[in-house]
């Protein structure tokens, strides 16, 4: 009885020690991880605003970035304000149901409600069709109004993927409905 108890105590002590060590390591690594994830996000944003940045500028040097939690299919909204020109833009991280899984997109909108850019983050749909969507272009005209993207986008070339396509459409729709709330100016 006593032996069993002391074995349990040994286990307990070990557990506490291990827990303490883990906590220690976590305090060291968690800021690094958080920083890394932030950098990742900023890097994704930089893709949209490449023309505004000179070669070694970071996005935070030129824009004030504000992160807002979204609602519904919109997961996160990044509001960017140009530090000198005061122009505003918004980048939406949005997801909608495609074929079986979600289509995750980043959609950037400028202050005049035109589409600045879009990118596929992960793919919905089956592997083959989904993979073709990464980096796909939707044949949208330059500076098209965000309201028009919903009808105007092109199904991904070469694949007729109506269901995944409807996911893409839903993404644009979500942004189109939301955009005026964030950027104003109707």
């Amino acid at each position: 009885m006593k032996k069993a108890l002391s074995s349990a105590v040994v286990l307990l002590v070990l557990g506490i020690i291990c827990g303490a060590v883990l906590a220690l390591v976590n305090t060291i690594t968690s800021p690094v991880i958080a920083q890394y994830e932030l950098d990742k996000k900023m890097e994704a944003l930089e893709g949209f605003f490449a023309d505004e940045l000179t070669s070694n500028q970071k996005i935070a040097d030129v824009f004030d970035v504000e992160e807002i939690e979204g609602t519904g299919g919109i997961k996160t909204i990044y509001l960017l304000e140009h530090k000198t020109e005061q122009t505003k833009s918004a980048v939406y991280s949005v997801s909608a149901l495609g074929w079986k899984t979600n289509v995750d997109m980043m959609i950037a909108v400028d202050e005049d409600m035109t589409l600045r850019g879009y990118a596929f983050v992960t793919n919905g749909g089956t592997e083959a069709i989904g993979l073709t969507m990464i980096g796909a272009t939707l044949n949208l005209a330059d500076n098209i109004s965000i309201q028009d993207t919903v009808q105007d986008y092109d199904s991904v070339g070469g694949v007729s993927a109506p269901v995944t396509g409807s996911g893409v459409k839903a993404c644009f729709q979500l942004v189109a409905l939301r955009v005026s709330q964030d950027l104003g100016g109707e």
Binding site: N139, D154, G157, S180, G184, G185, E186
Partner: protein, 388 residues
């Protein structure tokens, strides 16, 4: 060494044979693949040429030649700027030794670059067929273009004044590509052979709104033109899409060629703001209904009551507005709940009578829409004044 070969000679020979076969076989199969590519290419050219020969019954040979240089630009569908088509190659179609026609292969552009061959018959200066060689447009749309569309190119006379390609509903971009190709082929044909592109002598003097309340719903625009060899002057009523409706005050209609020319000229003029338009006019109550398009696809409608002589605005009421129920729909505009923007601008106008009202900050699109409505209304009122 000798011991090594004695022990492993057999496997070395086997491996050597293996490597030899791999090498020789690889060379052979590469040779085969390159030969195949040649065959495929031969076949592709053959198929393409067969397509052209099919356009000209009885033709048997074709010879490539260098066409004259023509540079022209055409506007693309959807307001995407101008596009300068180029000629890829030109082929003379021969029957025996006599020339039957010519085929121009033209790089044009629908939604995406497209390559089409346009066949023109020398006998009657008419387009006899069109062949799509390459296209990258959205398959769903492009496939809607079927025989009814392509059959319009059979025997389409190039001397037709109103030469145009009938747009297939919903496939405007691709349809426009064919029109560009056809026009450009006509230019090339005119440069290469003694063919003169028909023109209509007509100048557009003035294009303005129709403020006559009895006709402005059917034909909201009036164009003053000078046309014909005798420089006849005329005022022509045009529909909302600039189609010819009739002459102001009646009279003999213009000939079809001139009708088409008026439309083209008016469309190209671009001097009118078409955002706002008249909807109806109630003579008994002197009530005018107008509409304008703002940010929302549903139009803003306003009902305007005028005095008896129609030259003073009594009141403006908005029948329908931007449908945003909360002020969030106006972005960061903070002047109160909807329809604050419309009302704000209306009040400005009613106060000083100047239609160039100041826009409401943060609601630019709606403001523009309402402003253009007010400007049109002002024009109407002034026209009635001048009429008296």
């Amino acid at each position: 060494m000798k011991v090594f070969f004695g022990k492993h000679g057999f496997i070395l020979i086997l491996v050597a044979i293996f490597v030899l076969i791999f090498g020789l076989g690889g060379v052979y199969s590469r040779f085969m693949t390159s030969e195949l590519e040649e065959h495929i290419e031969e076949n592709a050219t053959g198929a393409e040429y067969a397509l052209y020969l099919e356009m000209f019954p009885g033709a048997d040979t074709l010879t490539p030649y260098t066409p004259g240089e023509v540079s022209k630009t055409y506007p693309l569908a959807g307001g995407r700027g101008d596009f300068a088509p180029t000629v890829d190659k030109a082929l003379k179609i021969l029957q025996g030794t006599s020339e039957k026609g010519v085929v121009y292969v033209i790089n044009t552009k629908g939604k995406e670059p497209m390559k089409v061959g346009v066949g023109i018959s020398l006998e009657n200066d008419a387009c006899v067929g069109i062949a799509v060689l390459e296209q990258n447009d959205t398959p769903d749309y492009f496939s809607q273009l079927g025989d009814p569309f392509y059959s319009q190119f059979d025997a389409k006379a190039l001397s037709d004044l109103a030469l145009a390609v009938d747009t297939f509903a919903g496939v405007t971009y691709s349809s426009k590509a064919f029109e560009i190709a056809l026009f450009y082929a006509r230019e090339l044909y005119a440069a290469d052979y003694d063919f003169v592109i028909p023109t209509v002598a007509m100048t557009l003097v003035k294009l303005e709104y129709n403020f006559d309340p009895t006709t402005f719903i059917a034909s909201p625009y009036i164009a003053n033109i000078i046309y014909g060899d005798q420089d006849t002057e005329a005022a022509v009523m045009l529909s909302a899409s600039f189609d010819y409706v009739g002459l102001v005050g009646g009279g003999t209609d213009l000939e079809a060629d001139f009708q088409a020319a008026v439309k083209a000229l008016a469309q190209g003029a671009g001097t009118l703001n078409t955002q706002a338009s008249f909807v109806s006019f109630d003579e008994e109550n002197n009530t005018l209904v107008m509409q304008t398009k703002g940010y929302n696809p549903n139009a803003i409608q306003a009902s305007i009551v005028l005095n008896d002589t129609l030259d003073i605005v009594v009141s403006i009421t908005f029948v329908s507005m931007e449908t945003y129920a909360n002020q969030g729909g106006y972005g960061d505009y903070t002047g109160g709940p909807a329809p604050a923007v419309e009302n704000n601008l209306r009040n400005q106008y009613l106060a000083d009578g100047d239609p160039n009202v100041d826009g409401v900050a943060g609601a630019t699109v709606s403001s523009n829409a309402v402003r253009s409505l007010l400007q049109l209304l002002d024009g109407f009122v002034e026209a009635q004044n001048g009429g008296e």
